[in-house]
Subunit: 184 residues, 2 copies
C-alpha cells in the first residue's frame, strides 16, 4: 500500500501500472492480483491506507506533550494536513489524484464519497465539542466547508500556486471564522 | 478551444491527444500544431479560453434584469460556478483537471498560478466594494479562501460526493462568514 501511494503520488492514478507497482513493492504482479483482484481493488485499498495514515499524522502527539483540548485537536487535525514532509505530500497528492480521477471514473466515486463523509463527521464532532450549542446541520456545514477548503488549498499548494505557510494561515483563519459563525 | 475544453472535460488533461482534438474540432493535426506549436501551447490557450468563458457565465445578466450591487455581484460570481449546464460542468471539469495535472506537470504551473492570482484579485476587489474598510491583506485572504473553496466544492460535486444545491448553499454561507469576518 505504501508502494501504491508512492506510485500514485509520482505519476497519478491514471499513470498507475500494476507492473510498476509490483516493482516498487518488490513483489510479483501475480501476488498483487491475488491480493487485490484488479485495479479497482488496488485503488480501494490505497484510499483506505492513505486515510489511515492521514488519521495518524493529523492526531499524533509526542509522549511528553500535554493532551490537547477540543479546540487544539480541531486546529491540529486540519493544520497538520499542511506539512512539508514526504509522507504528507505523498498522501495529499494521492488523495487529490483519487478525487480528480473520480470525476472521470465512476468506480472510484462510492469509496471516495464514503471516505469524505467519515472525514466530515470527524471534523463536525470536534467542532461540536468546541461549540456544544451548535446545531447538527450547522456543524456539518462548517465541517464540509473546512474539509473542502483543505482539499482546495492542498491542491493549490501542491501545484505551486500557494506557499505552504500561507496555506496554513488561511486554514487557521477559516477555523476561526467557522467557530465564530457557530457561536450564533 | 471549445473542442479542447470538451476533450479535456471528457478524458482529462493526461488523456488529451492532438489527434482526438483535431477530430473534435474538425481540422487537421497540422493546423493545430501550426497554431499552438505543441501540447503546452494547447493547454495554455485552453486555460485562457475556460477563464474567459467562466468570466462570462459568472457575470452575465439578462437585458431586463436590474444591475446588481456589489454584494449581488460577489454572490453571483461565486455561486454561478455551481450550475448544472454542460458549459459550467465542462469548464469546471477542465479547470480541475488543469489544476490536478499541474501537481505532476511543472510546465502548467506558471499559467495556473497567474490565472489563480487574477481570479483572487477579482474576488478581493468585489469584497472590498462590499467592505470598503477591510484591509488589503484581509480582503486578499478572504478571496483566497473563497476561491479555493469553489475549487474544493466543485471537485466534490463533479466527483459525486456533494449534491449541487448543497454545494451552492455551503458556498453562500461561506460568503456570509467571510463578510462577517471582514466587518472586523
Amino acid at each position: 500500500m505504501e508502494a501504491a501511494a508512492r506510485v500514485i503520488a509520482r505519476r497519478g492514478v491514471r499513470g498507475l501500472r500494476v507492473e510498476e507497482l509490483a516493482a516498487e513493492a518488490g513483489v510479483s504482479t501475480a501476488l498483487i492480483y491475488y491480493h487485490f483482484k484488479d485495479r479497482a481493488g488496488i485503488l480501494h485499498a490505497t484510499l483506505e491506507f492513505i486515510n489511515d495514515r492521514a488519521g495518524r499524522y493529523t492526531t499524533e502527539r509526542g509522549p511528553d506533550e500535554p493532551p490537547l483540548d477540543a479546540l487544539g485537536e480541531l486546529r491540529q487535525t486540519l493544520l497538520l494536513e499542511f506539512q512539508d514532509t514526504p509522507e504528507v505530500r505523498e498522501n495529499s497528492t494521492a488523495w487529490g489524484e483519487l478525487r480528480a480521477s473520480a470525476v472521470f471514473d465512476p468506480e472510484l466515486r462510492e469509496d471516495l464519497a464514503r471516505a469524505t463523509l467519515v472525514w466530515v463527521q470527524e471534523v463536525a464532532e470536534l467542532l461540536g465539542r468546541v461549540r456544544p450549542m451548535g446545531g447538527a446541520a450547522a456543524l456539518a456545514g462548517s465541517a464540509e466547508r473546512l474539509t473542502a477548503l483543505v482539499e482546495g488549498l492542498s491542491v493549490r499548494w501542491l501545484s505551486g500556486s500557494l506557499p505552504l505557510a500561507h496555506a496554513r494561515d488561511l486554514m487557521a483563519e477559516a477555523v476561526d471564522a467557522e467557530l465564530e459563525r457557530l457561536r450564533g
